[in-house]
């Protein structure tokens, strides 16, 4: 069968787009770039999934038309919960400090555990565009959605970006040592390229204490992020007031939390962070004062003391992915680079294993593992 009918539409009037001569070199560059960049994409095989889904849909056309029997993705995080309703079920992931002690055999005893959020996916059908006639239109497409989630760039709609945010939690369950956990949350920002906007949004998440259902320790109760200014030399953060009731060590990690979050969002390395309190106060948190700028340490041991020894970068909390094998990536700083993992569903471990990060503690290395194929459902990823 000749499956390439792309030229079927050619009729005598089908001329190519005629562009002024002044743009011809642009056309050539664009054509070359598109082909070069696209050639780097190596699609995964999905033929079996297509046939399975097609037959599943044919068995129950009514369901398929309601969009309820589609593939299953990791559910999106809380920030996009309204949108995630399009997914009938998926795989949930979250990460937070452990509820159970880490393995005694690990001297470093890092633990990062995820917890199940209760799935709130409704059966709200996603309007599927199974028909090419459903071309939509720009106006409707770009209407600002109620959830504030939009990646449309034709309008003033806001952006939702995966931004790193640091949260404070115990190094291990029951530990009094507080460290920072990094999560990539999907965060609503006003513009996608403005460093100050990104930092403002990420800091707002940080002072809020952590995603719903997570076991992080809120350090900045009642504090709001008023303004962030980014210059070539520093990041200036204005908070409504200082953190209240923190000890010296708690104050230190609370300041670290905002410094690391701001620097991560700005993405220009260790730009010093200077704080101003809108209420005129000079006490930032604990013993920390606003009279000097703060930055991250660069020494490995100092970093090790501040950060959780293991965290999960992907998938994000609540993200939905296609059912099947799931690849989890993150950062670990563990003894001999060992990383243990487990996938649980309803409290039962359905897959587990161990891998190694590319370097061991006190350095921080990347790890990655892929699970066996998982059927659609809600899962929890634990890395420890």
């Amino acid at each position: 069968m000749n499956t390439d009918d792309r030229n079927d539409g050619h009729r005598p009037e089908d001329e190519t787009v005629v562009i002024g001569a002044g743009l011809q070199h642009v056309e050539e560059t664009v054509r070359a770039q598109l082909h070069r960049e696209a050639a780097a994409i190596r699609p995964q095989d999905r033929l079996d999934a297509i046939l399975a889904e097609a037959h599943g849909a044919q068995l129950s056309d009514a369901d398929a038309d309601a969009g309820a029997s589609g593939r299953h993705r990791w559910l999106l995080p809380v920030a996009a919960a309204a949108v995630a309703a399009a997914v009938a079920s998926g795989i949930w992931v979250a990460n937070r400090p452990a509820q159970t002690p880490p393995p005694a055999a690990s001297p470093v005893s890092p633990t990062q555990q995820s917890s199940t959020s209760s799935p709130t996916a409704s059966t709200t059908p996603e309007s599927t565009s199974s028909s090419p006639a459903d071309t939509g239109n720009s106006a409707a497409l770009c209407a600002k959605p109620t959830s504030g989630v939009s990646l449309c760039n034709d309008t003033q709609a806001r952006w939702v970006l995966p931004l790193p945010v640091y949260y404070v939690g115990p190094r291990t369950d029951g530990s009094t040592s507080l460290v920072l956990f990094r999560e990539f949350g999907l965060i609503d920002v006003a513009t996608r390229d403005d460093a100050a906007d990104k930092a403002t949004a990420a800091l707002a998440e940080a002072v809020a204490g952590g995603p719903a259902g997570a076991a992080y320790r809120p350090m900045w109760k009642g504090v709001e992020v008023d303004k962030v200014t980014v210059t070539a030399a520093e990041i200036d953060v204005t908070l409504s007031t200082g953190a209240k009731g923190l000890s010296a060590s708690e104050g230190q990690i609370a300041v670290d939390q905002l410094v690391w979050t701001a620097q991560a969002a700005v993405g220009k390395g260790n730009l010093p962070v200077r704080f101003t309190l809108a209420d005129g106060g000079a006490t930032l948190a604990g013993d920390a004062r606003t009279d000097h700028a703060y930055t991250r340490p660069t020494d490995e041991m100092a970093v090790w003391a501040i950060l959780s020894p293991v965290w999960i970068d992907a998938p994000s909390r609540g993200e939905s992915l296609p059912a099947g094998k799931v690849t989890v990536t993150g950062i670990a700083s563990t003894n001999e680079a060992n990383v243990q993992w487990a996938i649980t569903k309803g409290g039962t471990t359905v897959a587990s294993g161990h891998t190694t990060a590319d370097v061991s503690a006190p350095s921080r290395g990347e790890y990655s593992f892929t699970t066996t194929a998982l059927p659609a459902g809600d899962y929890v990823v634990k890395v420890f």
């Binding site: 009918d5 743009l23 960049e37 046939l51 097609a54 999106l76 996009a80 296609p322």
Partner: protein, 180 residues
């Protein structure tokens, strides 16, 4: 076509989809990727298009415009997935993680970041900032090599609009290139 001789039904659609998949899966995923810049979402979009084609195989086959149908379904699906913000922008995540490596010194990392962002400021990044319609027209024109009339049909807009979108897009892209 040989498939005409086969008995109608699931086997026929399976066979056709398998052939279409072999011929077009990779190219269509790349097309979708150019529109959404996320491989997983791109694969989702094209998978949806194939499933839709399978489910309506007999009428689509009879229309004789199978690949055009797939193409349009992919573009629409990309738009829909973006609208629903299922996109978790993995590139942004990777960039942010790279920029967030502990232990950098400020001077080196600031310079590194500027250099890296300059290198990435390619035509593709400029393309991503175009309004959706302009981006679709550019990708269909210069990646899929569709004619103005084919693009008009695929996007259900007038040929005049195709020309206007293409011209505006190229003008913007030229300005970006000249800035470099």
């Amino acid at each position: 076509m040989p498939t005409r001789a086969r008995p109608p039904g699931l086997d026929d659609a399976d066979h056709a989809i398998t052939e279409l998949y072999a011929a077009h899966w990779t190219r269509l995923v790349r097309l979708a990727w150019l529109l959404v810049r996320d491989q997983s979402i791109a694969e989702d979009a094209v998978q949806d298009a194939f499933v839709a084609t399978h489910r309506r195989w007999e009428s689509i086959r009879d229309s004789g415009r199978v690949v055009a149908y797939l193409q349009t379904a992919v573009v629409n699906r990309c738009r829909s997935l973006q609208r629903h913000a299922v996109v978790v922008d993995r590139q942004n995540r990777a960039d942010a993680a790279a920029a967030d490596a502990p232990g950098r010194t400020s001077h080196v990392s600031a310079e590194t970041m500027v250099l890296a962002s300059d290198e990435r400021r390619t035509v593709l990044d400029a393309l991503e900032r175009l309004p959706q319609r302009q981006r679709e027209v550019v990708v269909l024109r210069y990646y899929e090599d569709l004619s103005e009339a084919q693009i008009a049909r695929a996007l259900d807009i007038s040929p005049g609009s195709v020309k206007a979108h293409a011209h505006r897009a190229l003008t913007t892209l030229r300005a970006t290139m000249e800035q470099q």
